[in-house]
């Protein structure tokens, strides 16, 4: 009886030492093991022996992941334990697949290799993620720079249009080239714009949600509240026309729509946004040659004319054949022929992985992405600060939307566009952006659990 009452007296909120960090360490070991397994399997099946190259591609991401883990222990001990291991596994899978395609390139005498560059970019991206965690102590710090973020985002978006450094690759003007290194500033612009959207919507959400007249039972916002949507819409159209990239334009507009919908809870914005998107798409498919060719290749990929055309459906069809070749169980890493698809290491890395890991492995990858996004949304759900909530929604959704557009393109649910698959595709800018997103989600998740003290009792 005494022990009982004593126990009850102690049962006040106890600050339990976060077991999450130990869990994270455990999962990181698992993730590192998986990454080593992939590389070893590739070497054994293609080279038929293991070489020390394995460590070149395995160690840097793993070491940096543990470095991030140690920083989290010190600086953000309540952060979500699942985000980092998932990101490490996905990044490792990407490196392994790119390495595997490099081996195929070497075997056929090619010289354009990507894997080493990918590893270096990964290391750099993870180092910058560490800096973000160390030097951004909370979202409140970013709150001061909302409009700076807007300016930075717009400048980054426009950079590729500048005469000397702007570079056009495969028809899209999305890159800048400095000292022989190409970079896609739009990827970083994404992050700046999410910060700006969050700050802007936190200030304006009430007037966006409540003010306006009711017509036929639907509340129509005042004209001036629609201004920002029009601006973003025009900017997306601008990207579509000037930079000739369908994917990026869908990404920015979709991101803004989701955030305004989450901030206001008004279906009206989602409805009008989707209507604007479809109108824009249809008009663009009539007026812009490259968009209409994309649409045609999407709807009729197996037509001989489309298949043979330059920039036609050859790539999509090869990707589909590859995935069909993989079947349910896949050909095993190193066992298939994903190198037959053009851009197998970047735009079509998902079809390369689906070929070698099969439908089962492909679904495992999708499951990892969904878990990553769901953890991000959980941060948004639990965080008490609205600015942080919106940022977390933006960061999670940008990954989800990109995935939808890319995988939708490869599997012919949508017209094919040039977005990157987060963490998997070869490309430094995308890695950099996605690791910064991971760092931000980790930082936000650390402060998302401080709600136990909020109970008010009387």
């Amino acid at each position: 009886m005494n022990a009982l009452t004593e126990a009850l007296q102690i049962s006040k909120p106890i600050k339990v030492v976060p077991r999450s960090r130990n869990l994270e360490a455990l999962l990181l070991f698992f993730a590192a093991g998986l990454n080593a397994f992939e590389l070893a399997q590739i070497q054994l099946s293609i080279l038929e022996r293991m070489t020390t190259d394995l460590f070149t591609y395995w160690l840097p991401p793993v070491l940096f992941a543990f470095l991030l883990h140690l920083i989290l222990r010190r600086r953000a001990s309540e952060a979500d334990p699942l985000i980092l291991p998932i990101a490490l596994v996905l990044n490792g899978l990407g490196i392994a697949m790119i390495y595997r395609l490099d081996l195929a390139t070497i075997a056929s005498g090619g010289a354009e290799l990507f894997a080493f560059r990918q590893v270096m970019w990964t290391a750099l991206a993870m180092a910058i993620a560490a800096i973000v965690i160390l030097y951004i102590p909370s979202q409140l710090f970013l709150r001061r720079y909302v409009y700076t973020a807007m300016a930075v985002g717009i400048v980054l978006l426009l950079l590729p249009l500048l005469p000397v450094i702007g570079t056009t690759i495969n028809g899209a003007t999305l890159w800048i080239s400095l000292f022989g290194v190409t970079f896609q500033p739009g990827e970083i612009a994404k992050i700046a714009l999410i910060i700006f959207f969050s700050g802007y919507l936190v200030d304006r959400k009430d007037s966006l949600a409540v003010v306006g007249r009711k017509i036929l039972g639907i509340r129509i916002p005042r004209g001036r509240e629609l201004g920002p949507i029009l601006v973003i819409w025009l900017a997306s159209i601008g990207v579509l026309v000037l930079q000739r990239d369908l994917g990026t334009s869908i990404l920015y507009f979709g991101l803004f729509l989701v955030m305004i919908y989450v901030a206001t809870g008004r279906a009206f914005y989602a409805g009008i946004g989707v209507a604007m998107l479809i109108t824009g798409g249809l008009v663009a498919s009539r007026l812009l040659d490259y968009v209409s060719r994309r649409f045609d290749a999407w709807l009729n990929p197996f037509e001989q004319a489309n298949y043979d055309a330059v920039g036609g459906s050859y790539q999509i069809v090869q990707g589909i054949f590859g995935m069909a070749n993989g079947g349910l169980f896949g050909s095993g890493l190193g066992g298939g022929v994903p190198q037959l698809v053009p851009l197998a290491e970047s735009d079509f890395i998902i079809s390369s992985l689906a070929e070698e890991l099969g439908l089962i492995g492909f679904f495992a990858i999708l499951a990892l992405y969904f878990l990553l996004v769901s953890r991000g949304l959980k941060v948004a759900f639990r965080h008490s600060d609205e600015f942080a909530k919106l940022m977390a929604v933006g960061f999670s959704f940008v990954i989800a939307l990109q995935l939808f557009v890319v995988i939708g393109g490869v599997t012919r649910i949508l017209p094919l566009t040039g977005l990157t698959t987060p963490f998997l595709a070869a490309g430094g800018s995308s890695l950099l952006a996605n690791w910064i997103i991971i760092a931000m989600l980790l930082r936000l998740s650390d402060s998302a659990v401080d709600r136990q003290t909020e109970v008010i009792t009387r």
């Binding site: 022990a3 009982l4 009452t5 004593e6 126990a7 009850l8 102690i10 049962s11 006040k12 909120p13 106890i14 339990v16 869990l23 999962l27 698992f30 993730a31 093991g33 998986l34 397994f37 992939e38 399997q41 054994l44 099946s45 038929e48 334990p81 699942l82 291991p85 998932i86 596994v89 169980f329 896949g330 095993g332 890493l333 066992g335 890991l357 099969g358 089962i360 492995g361 495992a364 499951a367 990892l368 878990l371 769901s374 639990r382 709600r451 136990q452 909020e454 109970v455 008010i456 009792t457 009387r458």
Partner: protein, 162 residues
């Protein structure tokens, strides 16, 4: 490598990949259902006796002399909080004037009310959207809350203790 070995490695990798996915899912599952304050307290202080706040009837018959003196939140965001049962009633809901404020998307503004009548605490559902559950049963007319019986409001579960 031999065909068989390659097959094993191939299958093994897919299995491992899914094991990883499911170990992550199991962590999420533990977040949702496991690791409750009751067990933490139990680990820290008393063994088994207290770690199973199971069905009321057996417990109350064993300790009939005990009277509920506090409300303990066992599941949900505020797990671990207690509120002394001092007055004759205690309101639960999202409203700022509730005695137990449940900040939860699934709770109503004035969700439920605990009322002390004839030596018993009764739970009354105040026409909430998602209902109040006593030991898993939806509360229609006010029901007597026995000790250590789970009452759920939205995503928060609490029980009365001595």
């Amino acid at each position: 490598m031999s065909e068989l070995a390659l097959f094993l490695v191939r299958t093994g990798f897919l299995v491992l990949l899914w094991v990883f996915v499911f170990s992550i899912i199991s962590v999420i599952r533990a977040d949702l259902f496991g690791q409750k304050v009751v067990s933490r307290v139990a680990q820290a202080n008393v063994p088994a006796v207290f770690s199973t706040p199971t069905s009321s009837s057996s417990d109350t018959t064993k300790q009939p002399e005990l009277k509920a003196t506090k409300l303990v939140v066992t599941e949900g965001e505020k797990a671990g909080t207690e509120i002394a049962l001092s007055g004759r009633q205690l309101t639960i809901g999202r409203a700022g004037d509730s005695d137990l404020i449940v900040d939860d998307e699934y709770a109503s503004t004035h969700h439920a009310k605990l009322v002390f009548i004839n030596g018993d605490w009764l739970i009354q559902d105040l026409d909430s959207t998602n209902g109040t559950f006593l030991d898993g049963q939806k509360v229609g007319t006010p029901m007597t809350v026995s000790m250590n019986t789970q009452v759920r409001v939205g995503q928060t579960t609490f029980e009365l203790r001595a």
